[in-house]
Point group: C2
Chain length 248, copies 2
């Protein structure tokens, strides 16, 4: 198994794998853009950790409408349990990416009594809930310009490296639209307006620079922050006592 996977996965969920044969429980999957992994319905305990590239948690309607509920990149953990019986939900590669898939089903009986594991999955789920609630508010109460500004700001914050350096957009206009509850043409129009206003500068259709993050933030009624990362808490490497900072 590629050691890079473990570097990306700060949560170290794989330490909960069964001791015996390392076999099928942990696999590295490579997805080409557009490929999907389906969330399992019932009776399985799977996790996906993005190792490289960007992927989207999406849901779809029979008539083709699609909503992206989360954008995930290296180190992000998706809990396979998130599937709802209502609408199908899946993980979709926005660009070529690598996913570490953990199947802990065989250890389920043991893990059900393991406080460290339970605290870890609680923390993951809670982080995701906070992110989902913010995104929900974005879709419900921000207009198209505000949504795009917030998106550009958040992507800039999530990119590793110094502030002010170029940000790469790992997805198409249509993907952005499906994340923001808009359509591709609207996204494009908002982007050209933002270019003209000098709030962002595009080096290429998928690469931009934010010259003045504070100026971006002033256009929004909410602070810009990376979703799913609580800046008030130190990131707990190694997992396990993740509730520490919250239950104290």
């Amino acid at each position: 198994m590629d050691a890079d996977a473990c570097i990306a996965c700060s949560r170290r969920l794989c330490e909960y794998l069964p001791d015996d044969p390392p076999g099928q429980a942990r696999t590295l999957v490579t997805l080409a853009r557009g490929e999907r992994l389906d969330t399992c319905r019932e009776g399985c305990l799977k996790f996906w950790i993005v190792v490289r590239g960007w992927a989207a948690v999406s849901t779809g309607f029979p008539d083709g409408r699609r909503q992206i509920t989360g954008l995930e990149t290296a180190g992000d953990v998706i809990c396979g349990l998130v599937a709802s019986p209502a609408a199908p939900s899946w993980l979709e590669a926005l660009e070529d990416c690598t996913i570490c898939q953990l199947d802990l089903s065989r250890s389920a009986a043991r893990l059900r009594d393991d406080p460290r594991f339970l605290a870890e999955v609680f923390h993951l789920t809670h982080q995701r809930l906070v992110g989902a609630s913010q995104h929900l508010t974005t879709l419900g109460r921000l207009d198209s310009t505000e949504r795009v500004i917030l998106f550009l700001g958040q992507m800039a914050l999530r990119r590793p490296g110094p502030a002010g350096a170029p940000v790469r957009l790992p997805m198409s206009r249509e993907d952005i639209a499906d994340y923001l509850g808009l359509n591709a043409e609207t996204v494009s129009r908002v982007l050209t307006r933002l270019k003209k206003s000098k709030l962002v500068r595009f080096l290429a259709p998928t690469e931009y620079v934010v010259p003045d993050m504070a100026a971006l933030a002033r256009r929004l009624p909410v602070p810009i922050e990376a979703p799913g990362h609580d800046p008030s808490l130190p990131r707990v490497a190694g997992g396990g006592l993740a509730m520490e900072g919250r239950i104290a």
Copy 2:
């Protein structure tokens, strides 16, 4: 303490209260319409259980925009940790209601190692995440008519009692609008259109009947189901082994 509270609370979180003085850790709060309970920011472990009436989990912007992210009634549990540092978030009474407030902070050290408790809060958070993701998709991809139809259908399913009986709307048009990402006038217009189409019949502005739930459902690209209640699993009374049905 009112015994009704414990009847409403199928989760029985109060069994995790410290044994010693029953004191301040468990209080019944009565809220008049519009009153709020603020989510605590840091270092506390509180839960709210709605005993009677309806309340909303809301967030707000400085400019006055409001988004309701969840509608809660008797038996629903709100995890106080849900607060995000970004925008303020609170629980707001939509009508006069009673809330059982549990403060487990003093037991936190013990609970951090209690698998039953951890499984319980994980389950609560997960249910909430599933609901939030569905609502997010609703706001992102359904038009105003679809949103209102889904809302009316879900409220009908959440009401105890036989299908087809009258449903009471415990909230104003503006509250509905803030839940659905619309404004009050639009909600009103959609409702009159639905009345004319005979899909719903209104006995009063806040009471309606759905003569044919299947007909409602046919107007939607998603099935109608009560948020936060996974129909595929039996409701586990008494809490504790709530992960049983999921991790197996």
